[in-house]
């Protein structure tokens, strides 16, 4: 890191050509898998939705690591902590909304 000032800025935390390309290839594979899971009609709707969810979560992690350069270094600990808080909020909002509205619909016999 210290011997060549011109290369220090392109260190791990900012990515490099190989890391962008690895991320891109992984993202393409995961995207194609998502489309294939639905368009091949090989899976039942429930299984396909589960597959879509898993593939989406994995692809989000790939993007976060390879494109947004998130890592667990101490320098980034605040970024990571804010992200975890936001992700937890989103899970509570979406999960809670689906749970409450489904429960309401059942009790109101609206579906």
């Amino acid at each position: 890191m210290t011997q060549a000032p011109t290369t220090t800025m392109t260190g791990d935390s900012h990515g490099s050509y190989p890391s962008y390309l690895i991320g891109f290839v992984l993202a393409v594979i995961l995207t194609v898998a998502s489309f294939a899971a639905v368009m091949s009609h090989a899976l039942s709707p429930g299984m396909a939705l589960a597959a879509l969810t898993v593939l989406a979560v994995v692809q989000i992690v790939v993007h976060l690591v390879f494109f947004l350069h998130m890592n667990t270094s101490t320098e980034q600990s605040w970024n990571l902590m804010c992200f975890i808080f936001a992700a937890a909020s989103v899970i509570v909002i979406i999960g809670g909304t689906i749970f409450i509205m489904h429960d309401t619909a059942i009790n109101m016999m609206s579906r």
């Binding site: 890191m1 210290t2 000032p5 011109t6 220090t8 800025m9 392109t10 260190g11 935390s13 900012h14 990515g15 490099s16 050509y17 962008y20 390309l21 991320g23 891109f24 993202a27 393409v28 995207t31 998502s34 489309f35 899971a37 639905v38 368009m39 709707p45 396909a48 939705l49 879509l52 969810t53 593939l55 989406a56 692809q59 989000i60 993007h63 976060l64 494109f67 947004l68 320098e75 980034q76 605040w78 970024n79 804010c82 992200f83 808080f85 936001a86 992700a87 909020s89 989103v90 909002i93 979406i94 909304t97 689906i98 509205m101 579906r111």
Partner: protein, 205 residues
């Protein structure tokens, strides 16, 4: 004032040793993105509740053209990596290449917005606008909000390209702006992953 104060120590640090400390501006922008994340989470929650409320109107299966969605997805994915190349060239202080890759990213982003507007206008022309059913209201709100974000990113990118065109070097301030737009652009691609998975692909099942 504020950014001057935070930037001068950074500029010195970069000259002398490799430890690159993230600017507080970039961290502040990251915080904004996290609130944006919650905004999209809320809209996704609304969509999840309303996705089966067709009110006698068309369902996603009848409306969505997966070829179009696939092209849009590919465009956004390519624009992510071309922005990545712009970032790497910015770190190498190669301004011409930064402008070139930003221009490529801009064209890709513009074609994404064009495809989306085309999809929206043909849906509305067939009478399937946001006023048709709760499902379509939620659909237009969610996908439209993402498209609006992409449009804002494009305006931002155009402004940065104009600012960079002068004879000056890539300043630390410009590097921070590029870093913020990088976060924004890659973040929008992450939102799009959720859109194509849970709106389009789950919608045609």
């Amino acid at each position: 004032m504020a950014h001057e104060a935070t930037m001068s120590p950074l500029a010195h640090a970069d000259d002398h040793h490799g430890e690159h400390h993230e600017s507080p501006n970039v961290f502040g922008f990251w915080l904004y993105l996290m609130t944006d994340c919650v905004l999209f989470g809320s809209i996704f929650a609304a969509f999840a509740v309303l996705r089966n409320q067709y009110a006698g109107g068309p369902s996603g299966k009848e409306l969505f053209d997966l070829t179009n969605v696939g092209i849009e997805t590919a465009i956004l994915l390519f624009s992510s990596i071309t922005y990545g190349f712009a970032s790497l060239n910015a770190l190498a202080k190669n301004k011409k290449m930064v402008l070139l890759w930003l221009a490529v990213t801009f064209v890709l982003g513009l074609s994404f917005v064009g495809l989306e507007l085309n999809e929206f206008s043909s849906m509305i022309a067939e009478g399937n606008g946001p006023d048709r059913s709760a499902f379509l209201s939620a659909f237009f709100t969610l996908v439209g909000t993402h498209g609006l974000h992409v449009t804002c990113g494009l305006i931002w990118m155009a402004v940065l390209m104009v600012q960079m065109m002068g004879p000056q070097d890539l300043s630390e301030r410009m590097m921070n702006k590029l870093a913020c737009l990088s976060l924004f652009w890659h973040f929008l691609d992450i939102v799009w992953i959720c859109v194509f998975s849970f709106v389009y692909l789950a919608g045609v099942m």
